[in-house]
């Protein structure tokens, strides 16, 4: 991963000047957002403070001077009225602004004015007690939470103006003495400025920290964005590579099976060729007989020696054996047609096994059809070592990629065949293929009675490049690809149950496609769940020429 130059800068150097333009702009935006939030939050804090002061003022006025008296008569004291109505009016506008326009510049300046006017009222009502002047200092400190020096300026102006005016016209209300010079106001203003000096320094330091923090966050964001883009790119490349690998594996499988498939195609081709050659000879004989017959009819028409002509025809008939020809030619042609149909089936299976295009999307996949195509392709690989029992139930389509799923089925079948061959027994093994529904999932089970696995091997079975096969028989990718395809790419799961010497059962579970639709069997393979196509069960269609069951003796091909 590339590191940006600014990410290696010391924290203290993280200012706008040292940042790249993009990071600088982002840092400014972050800082602006932080300040906006801070201003809005502080507005709300001041809302609470102003209301609290209002209530406290009312309570204090209620306690100290609730009533004004004239002998035995009394009425509400003006201080209590002022606490309720004047202070209420004073805080209403800033609170309204804080609620309606939180974070706005006007809001915090009005809040500052209201807070300092509250200080003025407090000082006035306390008779200019010097202790109440601390309210001014406290208010300024609280206002510095805004991190806006201009707000302190507004507050200072209000405080100084209040001191100056009341100092001039009613000094006892602000200084507690009846006479006060302008210097007294200047002195109070000076103390306020003195506090402002510290607050300004604190605000600037805080803003610098915020700016630095924003710069760091901006750099972090940009770095994260770059990393995310890089991860995305790498993920895309990895997926492409996986697609490539998966496709290559399918192609390699077909390559590995090519000899067997060629044999599968060659056998019908041979007897088709033989039949066609025999048919050609027979048709030539029939043509000869036809010509002789025509010649005889011409001679008989000229009243020649009819007996000799008929004898010649009989002799020719004996030689050619016309009835045999008439009986055998259709048979030969019929067998040839069947041979062609079988070739078509094999070619179709190959085509379906490795669909064109490596980056197909997800679509409803007929799992049973995929298994059939895979069995066709792997027929020659399996028939010399095992009997395959197929029990394809009525299952929903699975959402996925047909080519990838076929690859999984093939890998499991080849793996089963290898496991059976591992035992090196005389009689063929048994491979079971079963599909059924289980709780909204399409389950494909491939079992064998091969060598099985120990627990240790079973735990590693799906690890890439792990294999127990001798060199040249497997690179340890088959089951790893199965796991990646089923779990990572189809959201399904694959489990294995195995016992050394007894065999293994792989169970693939795939989420069924949501749209429920009946799978119309296109031939006799999709039997009812209970209809097990076994060697002893003649449920297999008579037209089927691919003897998946009892593959050991292939009478059709030995013709």
């Amino acid at each position: 991963m590339k590191h940006s130059a600014e990410s290696q800068l010391p924290v203290a150097a993280l200012t706008s000047a040292t940042l790249a333009p993009e990071a600088s702009a982002r840092a400014d935006a972050i800082l602006h957002g932080e300040l906006q939030l801070l201003h809005a939050r502080t507005d709300r804090l001041f809302c609470g403070l102003l209301v609290f002061q209002w209530i406290a003022g009312i309570a204090a006025a209620r306690w100290v001077s609730p009533l004004a008296w004239a002998g035995t008569s009394s009425w509400i004291h003006i201080h209590l009225l002022a606490a309720i109505f004047l202070v209420g009016f004073l805080i209403a506008f800033p609170i309204g602004l804080a609620l309606k326009f939180p974070g706005r510049t006007l809001t915090r300046h009005v809040v500052a004015m209201a807070q300092l006017m509250t200080s003025a009222i407090l000082i006035h009502l306390s008779g200019g007690r010097i202790e109440t002047h601390f309210h001014v200092f406290g208010s300024l400190a609280f206002l510095s939470v805004y991190r806006d020096v201009r707000v302190l300026g507004t507050a200072t102006l209000v405080a100084v103006a209040d001191h100056a005016l009341r100092g001039a016209f009613l000094p006892e209300s602000v200084y507690g003495v009846s006479t006060a010079s302008l210097w007294r106001t200047a002195e109070h203003g000076g103390w306020v400025l003195f506090e402002n000096l510290f607050l300004t320094i604190a605000i600037r330091m805080s803003l610098r920290d915020m700016r630095r923090s924003a710069a760091k966050e901006a750099i972090l964001e940009l770095t994260n964005r770059r990393i995310e883009a890089e991860v995305e790119q790498r993920t895309r490349e990895l997926k492409d590579a996986q697609d490539e690998l998966s496709h290559a594996e399918r192609m390699a499988s077909i390559g590995r099976l090519a000899a067997g498939i060629a044999h599968e195609i060659n056998t019908p081709l041979q007897f088709i060729g033989d039949n066609l050659r025999a048919s050609t000879d027979m048709l030539r004989d029939l043509q000869t007989f036809d010509e002789a017959s025509r010649a005889a009819r011409a001679e008989l028409g000229g009243l020649g020696t009819a007996r000799e002509t008929l004898d010649a025809l009989d002799e020719l008939d004996r030689q050619i054996d016309v009835p045999f020809l008439l009986q055998d030619v259709p048979v030969a042609l019929g067998q040839s047609l069947k041979g062609l149909e079988r070739i078509r089936t094999i070619v179709l299976a190959m085509k379906e096994f490795a669909p064109n295009g490596r980056l197909q999307g997800r679509e409803p996949v007929d799992v049973n059809a995929g298994i059939r195509h895979t069995l066709t392709v792997a027929h020659n690989e399996l028939k010399y070592c095992a009997t395959v029992d197929v029990e394809l139930g009525e299952v929903e389509p699975a959402l996925g990629n047909a080519g990838e799923l076929n690859q999984v089925f093939l890998n499991l079948l080849i793996n089963a065949a290898h496991a059976i061959q591992e035992l090196r027994r005389d009689e063929p093994g048994r491979i079971g293929v079963r599909t059924f529904m289980d709780g909204g999932q399409v389950v494909v089970e491939v079992s064998d009675d091969g060598c099985g696995m120990t627990d240790e091997i079973r735990r590693k079975a799906f690890d890439p490049f792990f294999t127990t096969k001798p060199p040249g028989r497997g690179a340890g990718q088959g089951l790893a690809i199965c796991h990646a395809v089923i779990v990572d790419r189809h959201g399904g799961r694959i489990d294995v149950d195995s016992e050394p010497g007894r065999g293994s059962t792989f169970a693939v579970r795939l989420p069924a496609h949501i749209e429920r639709q009946a799978i119309a069997p296109d031939d006799g393979w999709a039997a009812a769940p209970s209809a097990s196509a076994t060697a002893d069960a003649p449920a297999r269609p008579a037209t089927d020429e691919i003897p998946l069951v009892g593959l050991k003796g292939d009478s059709q091909e030995s013709r």
Partner: protein, 235 residues
């Protein structure tokens, strides 16, 4: 409950530019805010000014008798005497008592009498006020009841906090208040005048304004005669 968005999201939302205020609605909003701001500033400043003005309006004041009234039930003093008339429930008088306390802390006046107005037939709660206790604390035994405000009438006191100084010959030396404004503690000309009199100096105002509640019922009051009269008298 709606989950609170993370700070980062709220901050980014806050950082988004505000809607343009250039449209008519924005202008109207700004104008409305300006008007509201103006009303608020004027209203607040006016309220503060009115409050300040109220605190500087003194209470009513009659001229006290130049000699100790013979009808008074109070003993004629044989030394410098300080009489303060107070309403036991007047909040502003608290400041007068505090100023009295400061005055007595620095000035030697032995004869101090604080006469609290008590209506005729009043219950004890009039004598159990905070101010009464405060007066007792300042000078034990100084607090006395002025039932029906008769003594106040005899001495011409009309406003709570009004203080009179009579010398040993029963001659009036000072009349006025001990605060410079309503309920405002702090330096004031009244205390300065009394200090001056007690110190033997006669160059001081003998009358200052009084700030406090009215001692007597409104219907019993006469129009003020010398609300802010300040006159110099010879010691």
């Amino acid at each position: 409950m709606t989950p609170r968005p993370p700070d980062k999201d709220r901050r980014d939302a806050a950082a988004e530019p505000q809607p343009s205020a250039d449209d008519g609605r924005g202008r109207a909003c700004r104008l409305g805010l300006a008007v509201a701001l103006l009303i608020w500033v004027v209203g607040s400043a006016g309220g503060l000014g009115a409050l300040a003005r109220h605190s500087s309006i003194p209470g009513a004041m009659d001229s006290a008798p130049a000699d100790w009234p013979s009808t008074s039930e109070q003993d004629r003093p044989d030394e410098l005497a300080l009489l303060m008339f107070a309403h036991p429930r007047c909040g502003c008088t608290r400041a007068s008592l505090r100023e009295l306390e400061r005055l007595l802390a620095t000035t030697e006046i032995a004869d101090v009498r604080i006469l609290f107005f008590v209506p005729d037939g009043a219950k004890d709660d009039w004598q159990n006020s905070v101010l009464w206790s405060e007066a007792d604390r300042i000078r034990p035994g100084a607090a006395r009841a002025d039932v029906g405000g008769r003594e106040a009438r005899r001495f011409g006191a009309r406003t709570s906090g009004e203080t009179l100084i009579y010398d040993s010959g029963g001659r009036l030396r000072f009349q006025g208040g001990l605060t410079a404004a309503r309920a405002h503690e702090g330096n004031n000309p009244g205390a300065e005048a009394i200090r001056s009199i007690a110190g033997g100096s006669g160059i001081a105002p003998s009358s200052t304004r009084v700030f406090g509640c009215s001692l007597l019922d409104r219907d019993a009051l006469q129009p003020p005669q010398s609300a802010i009269a300040v006159r110099e008298v010879a010691p």
